[in-house]
């Protein structure tokens, strides 16, 4: 089976999963106690008012009709209108997406850049101070609740030292790009943006830095004991090549797999990180939507996240197949 077909297969599976996600999200609303009316109607609304609202929301129709409408609308990219703001859910959700992506990407970059060298060093300098340092750091990292870490970081770096903003998102990637031509000085914009991104990225990234460090270390140790390492050295290849071209590459195979499974944790982490830093992203949106029972927004967010998760997993599979040609054969 070729690379293309392999990905195609994954893609088809992905579509199935997305459909599942959509359906679950729809069902979720009907097994949930309480009616959307509670959201839309004011505290002391009259029963007549509530009745009218029910009709407006089409809650009076049979379930399957609502489901089919829902699917049909979704296919046209319509996620309904926020019960709270009457703004199309698609608009409201996709407005929040960049902030969250920014956060997740920044965290991943932090994680990868730090963790891989750290893992390699710790594996190749086994039982040396560097190894112990890296190991303790990673243990601490996977054991610290990131919201608490975030609070502590804010306390130290924002409140006490006042070197980073305490919360919120300044500008953002797109605005920073715009600033190249825009009226505002590019440098100030970018620094402000990165400054506001720094603490959240660290908060979200730490767990993954630690996790990947652990994975790389243990995987590297396994690989180093493989026969081909000795054979590769036997032909006199420079150690750098042995470690990074041969060993690390094979180490990354299991690492990538685990990370694929951990994407959920990344998004979940993003949600709570946003809560800590009042970061205006999907996470904040979801929590707001849940507390306000703003169903269209909640459903929209969950669908976007689910779909994103599926897409990312396809990417991971592709990467996986690239790293380990054997998987395509299977």
């Amino acid at each position: 089976m070729g690379y293309g077909r392999f990905l195609l297969k994954r893609g088809v599976q992905g579509v199935g999963v997305v459909w599942g996600v959509v359906t679950v999200v729809f069902i979720l609303r009907f097994i949930t106690p309480g009616s959307p009316i509670d959201t839309v109607a004011p505290l002391d609304a009259s029963q007549e008012t509530r009745q009218r609202i029910a009709e407006d929301l089409g809650l009076d129709q049979p379930l399957y009709v609502q489901y089919l409408d829902y699917l049909w609308e979704l296919l046209q990219g319509n996620m309904g209108y926020s019960y709270i703001s009457s703004i199309p859910a698609s608009v409201q959700v996709f407005q929040k997406l960049p902030a969250t992506l920014e956060l997740a990407v920044a965290a991943s970059v932090v994680a990868v850049v730090i963790s891989i060298p750290l893992g390699v060093i710790s594996a190749t300098r086994r039982h040396q101070p560097a190894d112990y340092a890296a190991t303790s750091f990673s243990l601490l990292g996977i054991s610290t609740p990131n919201f608490w870490l975030g609070i502590m970081l804010v306390l130290v770096f924002a409140v006490e030292l006042n070197v980073f903003p305490t919360s919120g998102r300044a500008y953002g990637f797109m605005q920073s790009l715009a600033a190249i031509t825009g009226p505002e000085p590019f440098f100030t914009v970018v620094t402000a943006w990165l400054a506001s991104l720094f603490l959240p990225a660290i908060t979200l990234g730490t767990y993954f830095t630690a996790l990947i460090t652990r994975l790389v270390r243990s995987g590297m140790l396994d690989e180093l004991s493989e026969g081909y390492v000795r054979a590769t050295r036997a032909k006199g290849l420079p150690e750098t090549l042995v470690r990074y071209k041969h060993v690390l590459r094979n180490t990354l195979v299991p690492v990538v797999t685990v990370l694929g499974l951990q994407l959920g944790t990344l998004i979940g982490g993003a949600v709570i990180t946003e809560a800590v830093f009042a970061w205006p992203g999907l996470g904040t949106e979801i929590i707001r939507a849940i507390n306000a029972r703003d169903w269209p927004i909640l459903q929209g967010s969950l669908i976007v996240i689910g779909t994103g998760f599926v897409l990312l997993n396809i990417v991971v599979d592709a990467l996986y197949a690239y790293l380990d040609p054997r998987v395509i054969a299977e």
């Binding site: 026969g227 054979a231 590769t232 050295r233 032909k235 006199g236 290849l237 420079p238």
Partner: protein
């Protein structure tokens, strides 16, 4: 084939420094090489003061049961013993005039005539010897090639190493041979850039052809899992030949293969050896292979060469009871009457405390005598050529029931013993 004059000198006799005396054709002289593993269970003497020599264009065989330290010996030669193992003593004298000149002034103790003691050379130089001087063919081809890199690429790497090595003088060679992280990252980021070059890839394909792989150009771009075991071993050999080594160390090259393939591989090895006049160290537990390939043989037991000599010395007139036992354990096709008498007992654990100063074979030896309970030096063995020598008292005296050890002698103080 060996018209040697200086027969009586034993290459093994420790003379302190300088290369041991030996045959003029010697390309490799190993003396008193010991490799130990320091594990939680204790110290394991995998290789115990090993002595042997390898001559130009010959095939020297090392035979022994598994666990007798053959493979460790091989790795010790190319300095690839991983922790917790360490080469604790010994010298590996390798004949290379240029190298000798280069280090005569800097490291005089490492140089003797045309010979250099690789053990005394700086690490970088030692590693640089892998490929052009020594290269290895490993036991299991499947696990000895990187599963996620194409076969061609891996061979090309071996070629490339030597190409670059020739490109810049050995002295200036850094640990990474001028190929550090920076280069690596750049190469891996930019497309069509890598460590290996076009030319080295073509060379790799030639090599594949040379080792008899059909349409090598295509196969070169396949991954190890797409190769059969035999094909892989051929590829391994191609990779080993990439550096045009003086000494090719083949560690159980055929064990992992099935019989029909074994023959092909052995033929291949012999052909290549003959046309390139490489010296080969053939390590195996299979006397058949030895008989087929080797000029001279060393029988290895418990980390030592217990008997050595020309093929005929060892096969036709073995002295050491262990050798006898080994030979005895091959089925003789001429004589239908089965005279299979496998050696009783197991290879010793090689644990330092359990070995003690005695003939390590004594506990299994049918002819063990009280003399065997002291360290045994290497004696000339009468029968056969001057090459013939053995670490066994029987070279000096006849077996005598009188001083035979009681059968339960070792039961008292040793766990490792024959199961009667």
């Amino acid at each position: 084939m060996s018209e040697t004059t200086s027969g009586t000198e034993r290459a093994g006799t420790p003379t302190g420094d300088g290369a041991p005396e030996g045959h003029p054709d010697d390309v490799l002289r190993v003396r008193d090489l010991s490799t130990r593993f320091f594990t939680e269970e204790g110290q394991i003497n995998a290789v115990e003061s090993l002595d042997f020599t390898v001559r130009d264009g010959e095939v020297f065989g090392i035979v022994g049961e598994s666990g007798s330290g053959k493979s460790v010996a091989a790795l010790s030669l190319v300095d690839l013993v991983d922790s917790p193992g360490r080469i604790t003593s010994g010298e590996v004298w390798y004949r290379d005039a240029d190298l000798a000149d280069e280090f005569r002034d800097d490291v005089p103790e490492a140089v003797d005539g045309e010979f250099v003691d690789t053990r005394r050379l700086p690490e970088g130089v030692r590693r640089a010897l892998r490929g052009p001087a020594f290269s290895m063919v490993f036991q299991d081809p499947m696990s000895s090639l990187n599963p996620s890199i194409t076969v061609g690429e891996q061979i090309a790497e071996a070629v490339e190493v030597q190409r670059r090595a020739r490109a810049n003088p050995r002295r200036t060679r850094s640990r990474t041979q001028g190929y550090g992280m920076g280069r690596l990252i750049v190469d891996s980021l930019l497309p069509n850039r890598g460590y290996t070059s076009e030319s080295s890839m073509n060379r790799a394909i030639e090599l594949l052809e040379q080792v008899g792989i059909p349409d090598p150009a295509e196969r070169a771009h396949e991954y190890p899992h797409q190769f059969s075991g035999g094909m892989l071993q051929r590829a391994m050999i191609a990779q080993a030949l990439a550096g045009e080594p003086d000494v090719l160390i083949a560690d159980e090259p055929t064990t992992a293969l099935d019989v029909t393939i074994q023959a092909q591989i052995l033929n291949l090895l012999r052909d290549l050896q003959e046309e390139q006049d490489t010296s080969v160290v053939m390590i195996t537990h299979d006397l058949g292979v030895i008989a087929r390939m080797c000029n001279r043989v060393g029988v290895m037991y418990a980390g030592q060469i217990v008997e050595r000599g020309t093929l005929s010395d060892v096969f036709d007139s073995p002295v050491h009871p262990y050798t006898e036992g080994l030979i005895g354990s091959i089925p003789d096709l001429d004589d239908p009457a089965p005279r299979l008498q496998p050696i009783e007992g197991n290879v010793p654990s090689l644990l330092d405390e359990e070995m003690g100063g005695r003939c390590f074979f004594a506990d299994r030896c049918p002819k063990a005598m009280s003399d065997c309970l002291q360290p045994i030096p290497e004696y000339d063995a009468e029968p056969g050529t001057d090459e013939h020598a053995a670490r066994c008292v029987l070279t000096e005296r006849e077996y005598d029931e009188a001083d035979a050890l009681p059968p339960d002698h070792f039961d008292r103080n040793e766990e490792v013993r024959g199961d009667e």
